[in-house]
Amino acid sequence: MYRILKKKSLNPTVTLMEIEAPFVARKARAGQFIILRADERGERIPLTVAGCNKQTGAVTIIFQVVGGATMTLNALNEGECIADFVGPLGNPTEVEGIKKACVVGGGVGCAIALPVVRELHEMGCEVTSIVGFRSKDLVILEDEFRAASDKFVMMTDDGSYGEKGNVTLPLKRMLEAGETFDRVITIGPLIMMKFVALATKEYNIPTIASMNPIMIDGTGMCGGCRLTVGGETKFACVDGPDFDAHLVDFDEAMKRSRTYAEFEAKAREKHCNLFKKEAN
């Protein structure tokens, strides 16, 4: 069992938790993920490591409450335990030799992007961060991003904070103005990463996307997380989760991510009703 050391709400639908998992904490690096199972009935879900402390053995996860499994997790409090917490899984994000980078994060993907930004910043790389949210009340980790970035751009879809529009707007603007990067790293919704990849492809800027397909075991034994990259089938849990964004078949990935849409909608409804009953 793995104890919840800290729980904090970052916005109405995003929660931060620190989990006591010393074996994971001593090994995890930016870009890697864990698989957790909240309780005995629970589903195994992948979440990216948002930070870890080797001294205390705490691993930080940040998740959006979107469905049954994340609702179950979010119902747990500090001091309570989750059943399973496995990792670190996947390969760390490659940062070696990068002098100038742009990290593009969207929504809860920003939580995953932050450790990458920090690692780049600490090794002396010049970092531009572009983050995007639907609206002002969903913004997370702004101060943390600012502290680790040389340049910082905030975007909201509705213009309620920062600049109005999606993250590809400022990215395109920079590229059009002649800005170059050794690497663009993008983490967020598939549709956002697809458009970031399209934008940088024109300028031949090496671009990495952190993929987030459906997973079960996370160790390469089922292929549930398979993607097409450069015409070849890859397993995101062991070959990734980072891939060359210019080679990823995003359209296929988006369709595959909806395999269980109907089940998920039902599970969400069931959970909502359950929580409503408990509240009454």
């Binding site: 074996f23 399973d84 670190p88 079960i216 160790t219 390469g220 292929g223 395999t259 599970a267």
Partner: protein, 465 residues
């Protein structure tokens, strides 16, 4: 009372009715009662040369335990089996006895062999539901060993070393111990409560089981040896990497590896309505492959509510690699066999949902290197099967994860760990066995390999002490 029962046939196994059981996940075979077990045990002639024992990869003292069953001494019979086998309730259910112990039985020459598997199962189940006394804990010998993987090979190796007094820790990547016994073989063939009971029996011997530990990621083999002081390590990591066909449309929604489908159903219990894990409820399913895994996937799909389930296999019935009994069970449960048929493309609609499987008919040519007749495509024979789900059960290879993080561990091109006949690998103090070494094989062969490696590890540690 006659000493022997000379009936040429073995007692049939009471089973659930096929058309009832294909709608539930309860165990198909119900097992012998005490009276039937005693009567079946009396069919054993207690031959002098004991060919059955030689046919068992872990050399259970078969005539000895069966003689005790015939006398109604069930717990004593269990203790005889437990001397050499760590998982009798599992083996009695899933071993292909027809090619092992029962295949060698003298009674099988002029009739049916003694139901050795059924008797082993009866004895193990009797013990698990009647035994109250905890087994005596072995005297510790002060040496620490690590087992990577808690499948049949790892559990057997762990059990044997614990009995010798070793301080044994088993590291398992998933959240439950058992390997293929929990994620692969369905509940209706091997109830998970039975696997759990066998693992508990090992824990009672002092074996520690650490789940959620992906060795190669969270800890390396070197760290296990140097940092944590394990004097020898056994790698029983299996062959869990699924193969795909690399045909067009294979990544459409509704195409799964059998590993994924079965893991969702068995390990995550997605067949139960209150499980949080989703599973694809298809109406028309094609399972590609002809092994036991294909039968398990097909029979699971039927139980999950499919109207029609096809087994699509490129050779003929005679070459089906699955156990005969599993093929018969599948047929009884109305699984449809499309033999001499090979898929060429998965068809999908504009939203990438599977809507069909394009296949070609095959005919058998000359025998290939494996001795089986090679299937050859019949030109112009392409046709489309109307399905909404395709499950690929084409076999598996060892997972490359351990190889990637372990310097100096020699492997073959397909990923199998190179080990000698005692399980010794290219690394000092590191042993391996089961599917990780042979590629996908059987539960009992993995157990035999675990047993052999345990003996070699004991000798290795004693030679250093």
């Amino acid at each position: 009372m006659a000493k022997f029962n000379m009936d040429p046939k073995k007692h049939p196994m009471p089973s659930q009715d096929p058309l009832v059981r294909n709608k539930n996940f309860k165990e198909v075979a119900l097992g012998y009662d005490e009276e039937t077990a005693i009567d079946e045990a009396k069919r054993c002639l207690n031959c002098k040369n004991q060919p059955c024992v030689a046919g068992c990869p872990v050399n259970v003292a078969i005539p000895e335990f069966i003689a005790l069953v015939a006398e109604g001494k069930f717990e004593e019979a269990y203790q005889v089996i437990a001397r050499t086998s760590s998982l009798p309730a599992v083996c009695g259910r899933v071993c292909p006895q027809e090619t092992q112990c029962e295949g060698k039985c003298t009674r099988g020459i002029k009739g049916e062999p003694v139901g050795i598997g059924r008797l082993e199962r009866f004895v193990a189940d009797w013990h698990n539901s009647h035994a109250t006394q905890a087994p005596a804990k072995p005297v510790p010998n002060g040496h620490k060993v690590a087992i990577v993987g808690s499948g049949p090979a790892g559990l057997t190796c762990a059990g044997d070393l614990a009995k010798l007094g070793y301080d044994v820790t088993v590291f398992e990547a998933l959240h439950l111990a058992g390997g293929v016994l929990v994620y692969g073989i369905p509940e209706f063939r091997l109830p998970k409560a039975i696997v759990e009971k066998e693992v508990d029996n090992l824990k009672a011997l002092g074996v520690k089981v650490m789940t959620d530990m992906v060795i190669g990621k969270v800890l390396t083999i070197d760290e296990l040896k140097e940092e944590f002081g394990f004097e020898a390590v056994f790698l029983g990591t299996g062959a869990g990497l699924p193969r795909f066909m690399n045909i067009p449309g294979e990544n459409a929604k509704g195409v799964f590896s059998a590993n994924e489908y079965l893991t969702r159903s068995n390990l995550m219990k997605a067949y139960e309505p209150d499980s949080e894990t989703p599973i694809f409820h298809a109406k028309k399913v094609a399972v590609v492959g002809g092994g036991n895994v294909a039968m398990d996937a097909a029979r699971s799909a039927k139980r999950l509510g499919a109207d029609v389930v096809y087994i699509v296999y490129r050779r003929s019935e005679a070459e089906l690699p699955a156990r005969r009994e599993e093929v018969e069970h599948a047929k009884e449960e109305e699984i449809v066999f499309k033999l001499l048929t090979n898929p060429v493309e998965v068809l999908a609609d504009s939203d990438d949902n599977v809507v069909g499987l394009r296949c070609i008919e095959m005919e058998l040519g000359e025998p290939d290197a494996s001795g089986r007749r090679r299937p050859i495509e019949k030109k112009g024979s392409e046709f489309t099967m109307d399905v909404d789900c395709v499950i690929m059960a084409l076999g598996t290879s060892p997972n490359p994860l351990l190889k990637k993080t372990t310097q100096g561990l020699d492997t073959k091109p397909r990923g199998e760990i190179v080990a000698d006949e005692n399980g010794k690998t290219s690394l000092d103090g590191v042993y391996a066995g089961g599917d990780a070494v042979t590629g996908a094989a059987t539960v009992i062969l993995a157990m035999g390999a675990g047993k052999t490696a345990a003996k070699a590890m004991d000798e290795y540690i004693r030679s250093k002490a």
